[in-house]
């Protein structure tokens, strides 16, 4: 699969603060998730790729074009859905989307025709003559997607597309994103701090943490990094037992419930965990084999254990 984005040693600075530090990453075609906690540098990376933030050092290529040398050609071929609320004031939805099409170089008539089409596609067909300023948060997210799609880009940058959406709207937005990437033949880079969103829509992931790449690769490959995963709950001196596990080369991290997710790096299975617990005098109250998730990859990559 050809690369749509490549960053080589890219650093971006806000004043004295490093937003990206020596980032080297490659995004293949298809759907790529840009994953990381808030402040990891996801939005900064997208803005740098758009040519809106000049990097202090490094090289970036988008769709084979150098960002520094050909920002306009690149922006003509990409669609950008910003994270924050953004619209052209005083316009209804269809005028806004058509206007964005014209800004991207489409003839007026074509822009208007495509505006109607994409508004139907994103589910705003019935509300397309309403002023954008009267839209709900979910509708504003959809119209931001519509303006990014209207000129039929080769690559979409979606920055937190499900922000502020209710569960139903979020599911619909994820369906749309998945459909765009898997059925409509567009490449997309989805920035999110929500692991399920990335896992549902993307095939490939770049994990960012504190401005650096913590992990990258196909999601399936990263999840199947060898070893086995268990859900474990113990009674006794849990902190001491966690130390023993880590000393034995077994990663573990807490979840929202009182169970731990435990990564046994080799073929040693549940019996090994029972032995360690017996030796430390703690009771195993719950032990269940599990499957690796993107959350595990993320926790492993950013050191949240």
């Amino acid at each position: 699969m050809t690369e749509v984005v490549r960053l080589q040693g890219v650093s971006v600075q806000y004043g004295r603060q490093w937003a990206l530090r020596d980032v080297t990453a490659a995004c293949p075609g298809g759907a790529v998730g840009l994953l990381g906690p808030n402040g990891a540098g996801k939005s900064t990376m997208i803005k740098a790729l758009l040519g809106l933030l000049p990097p202090v050092q490094g090289e970036m290529r988008v769709l084979g074009l150098d960002v520094r040398a050909a920002p306009l050609q690149i922006r003509g071929r990409i669609g950008y859905m910003p994270e924050s609320d953004a619209h052209i004031p005083g316009m209804n939805a269809v005028s806004f989307v058509a206007y964005c099409g014209e800004l991207a170089g489409l003839p007026r008539a074509d822009a208007m025709q495509r505006a109607h089409e994409v508004l139907y596609y994103v589910g705003l067909g019935e509300a397309r003559y309403r002023n954008v300023e009267t839209y709900s948060t979910g509708m504003k997210q959809r119209i931001k997607l519509a303006q990014a799609l209207v000129h039929d880009p080769d690559l979409l940058f979606l920055d937190e597309p499900t922000n502020g959406m209710d569960p139903k709207g979020r599911d619909e937005m994820l369906e749309l994103v998945r459909d765009i990437a898997h059925n409509k033949g567009l490449n997309l880079i989805l920035s999110s701090h929500l692991l399920p969103d990335v896992e549902y829509t993307c095939d490939h992931v770049v994990v960012l943490d504190k401005g650096s790449v913590a992990a990258q690769g196909p999601i399936a490959g990263l999840k199947g990094h060898g070893g086995r995963v268990f859900e474990l709950r113990v009674k006794g001196d849990t902190d001491r037992f966690v130390e023993v596990l880590r000393a034995a080369g077994v990663d573990c991290h807490a979840t929202d419930e009182d169970v731990m997710r435990v990564f046994v790096p080799d073929d040693r299975g549940g019996r090994y965990l029972f032995e360690l617990a017996w030796r430390e005098g703690v009771q195993v109250r719950h032990l269940r084999p599990s499957v690796p998730t993107l959350e595990d990859v993320f926790a492993h990559a950013v050191g949240e254990r």
């Binding site: 004043g15 758009l50 924050s84 953004a86 619209h87 800004l103 170089g105 619909e172």
Partner: protein, 279 residues
């Protein structure tokens, strides 16, 4: 069937080459304003002096006893000076929200994520305002000149005042450029069009009042350089070849206006960005 399955088609049509987007922005700005009745009323009102002057020209050309109303080169200077009040109102009405509204709605990141440069964006906004300002200055002034020729039935007046067409053009261009750049720079400084409008009015009135006060205290009219209105007035005297010494040297007036426009360009360069970095 989910609604999003109703189709997304790839686009195989033609795309305009880069560099023409400023006109898309300008056209959208023009259309937005001309759809407003209040603004059309303001434009019509701004043409009232034109109608009065047209009647004056008609009477002077057709009633021999009304020679006192016959136009001179100074008539056109006075006409453009009179239009200053409409320049003020149109600048505030059209210009105050041009960038401020975009900043309020985070539209800059939408604009600048498209294939257009910041210069094209500013040019588009500038052209919107300049076209409306030209519509209340240069257009009626040139039309008056043509009307004079038609009513008089001869080109004698124009032949005797050949400098008038370039004078009208140069002075109207100065009025339009200075007002448009000043307003656009102010508009880029805020997210509130009301604040911008009040600030613009404040700058115009405050500088004029300061000039009057300083002139009264010092007796020197060179303080006019602090007031854009006075500076333009001094230049109009030169451009229209008015008799007498101008209150400010033309070169100083031109330099002042150039510095003002330069400052506005600098502000726009700093403020019109898709990403605002706060350090």
């Amino acid at each position: 069937m989910p609604i999003h399955d109703q189709g997304y088609r790839r686009y195989g049509g033609r795309r305009a080459p880069h560099g023409r987007t400023w006109w898309v922005i300008a056209r959208a700005g023009l259309l937005e304003r001309v759809r407003e009745r209040r603004f059309l009323a303001l434009l019509l009102f701004a043409w009232a002096p034109f109608v009065v002057r047209a009647v004056q020209f008609y009477i002077s050309a057709n009633v021999p006893q009304a020679g006192v109303f016959a136009p001179t080169a100074q008539t056109f200077r006075e006409f453009l000076d009179q239009q200053s009040i409409f320049i003020f109102f149109v600048t505030i009405y059209v210009g105050s929200g041009l960038i401020a509204n975009d900043r309020r709605a985070n539209a800059l990141q939408i604009y600048l994520s498209k294939p257009l440069t910041r210069v094209e964006y500013v040019a588009g906004k500038l052209v919107t305002l300049m076209i409306f300002l030209a519509a209340v200055t240069w257009v009626p002034a040139i039309l008056l000149l043509l009307l004079q020729m038609m009513f008089a039935g001869s080109t004698a007046f124009i032949r005797a005042n050949l400098f008038l067409v370039p004078a009208i053009t140069v002075f109207a261009a100065l009025q339009v450029l200075v007002s448009a750049f000043a307003m656009l720079a102010l508009s880029s400084l805020s997210k509130s069009r009301r604040f911008v409008a009040i600030t613009y009015a404040g700058v115009i009135f405050f500088t004029a009042a300061m000039y009057q006060a300083l002139r009264a205290i010092t007796g020197s009219s060179s303080w006019g350089l602090i007031s854009p209105v006075e500076t333009l007035d001094a230049l109009s005297a030169v451009v229209f070849r008015s008799p007498g010494e101008p209150s400010i040297a033309a070169s100083a007036a031109l330099l002042t206006l150039a510095a003002l426009v330069g400052t506005c360009v600098w502000i726009l360069e700093r403020r019109v960005r898709a990403v605002e970095v706060v350090t």
